[in-house]
Symmetry: C2
Subunit: 138 residues, 2 copies
């Protein structure tokens, strides 16, 4: 029922938007560059322009459907909002992204906030490194 999501977001139900939402929801990957989405669309037989992909992803971000990440890879990466919090570990060589969740770190952040007099609302943690594959290539 993607069209519902689109309507709720105040967006007209157009083929590009439906298809892009479909890609984001059904692909195994979780993180997509605009280029990734564009290529997946081509693979599935949809001739949707790259400019439209950028436009739609930006609209989805504004509508809260996706989150845009600024990893150290030089380009934006988009991720569907599924509600389950997690942090990211990013390969600085190939751009691969893995997710992790650490209870202790989460708790420590609250402790730190409290000690600093802050009421914590959010956080953002990226670990950067070289992934297994890229280490082999060195």
């Amino acid at each position: 029922m993607e069209s519902k999501d689109l309507r709720n977001a105040g967006l007209k139900v157009t083929l590009p938007r439906v298809k892009i939402l479909e890609i984001l929801e059904t692909s195994k990957a979780r993180h997509f560059s605009a280029e990734d989405v564009y290529k997946l669309l081509l693979e599935s037989g949809e001739e949707i322009g790259l400019a439209t992909v950028y436009r739609v992803l930006t609209q989805f971000e504004a509508a809260g459907l996706v989150t845009r990440h600024h990893f150290d890879t030089g380009h934006s990466v988009f991720e569907m909002n599924l509600g389950n919090h997690h942090d990211h570990i990013v390969c600085v060589k190939c751009g691969r992204v893995d997710e992790f969740f650490d209870e202790t770190i989460e708790k420590l952040q609250h402790d730190i906030s409290e000690k600093a007099g802050y009421k914590m609302t959010d956080h953002c943690l990226y670990i950067y490194g070289v992934c297994e594959e890229c280490q082999k290539l060195e």
Copy 2:
């Protein structure tokens, strides 16, 4: 004694590198885009090409003299490394920034990287919240 720093980094002591290091060390600001550095150089009467600024900043990063941040502004921001690693806690109301360092979080990040097969090179942690002052105003 900037020339010492450059030599230690394995870099020839050239006028552009000395001047750029000077800018980074003596300006009040803490974060600089390449363009910022370029303009400050012009203001101080140095005609140094933008390409050189980029090259030098990249070399400084490789040498560990500066850190490159990727904010959501669309361009890189550079910051002098003052040796003391710390993370940031940012007030979402007034923009106040405090620094903190937590040994346990640092260690956990290494553990997580290892478990994920990554060789960790860096990390980036921001906590967002409402600071003491701003809580009073609510």
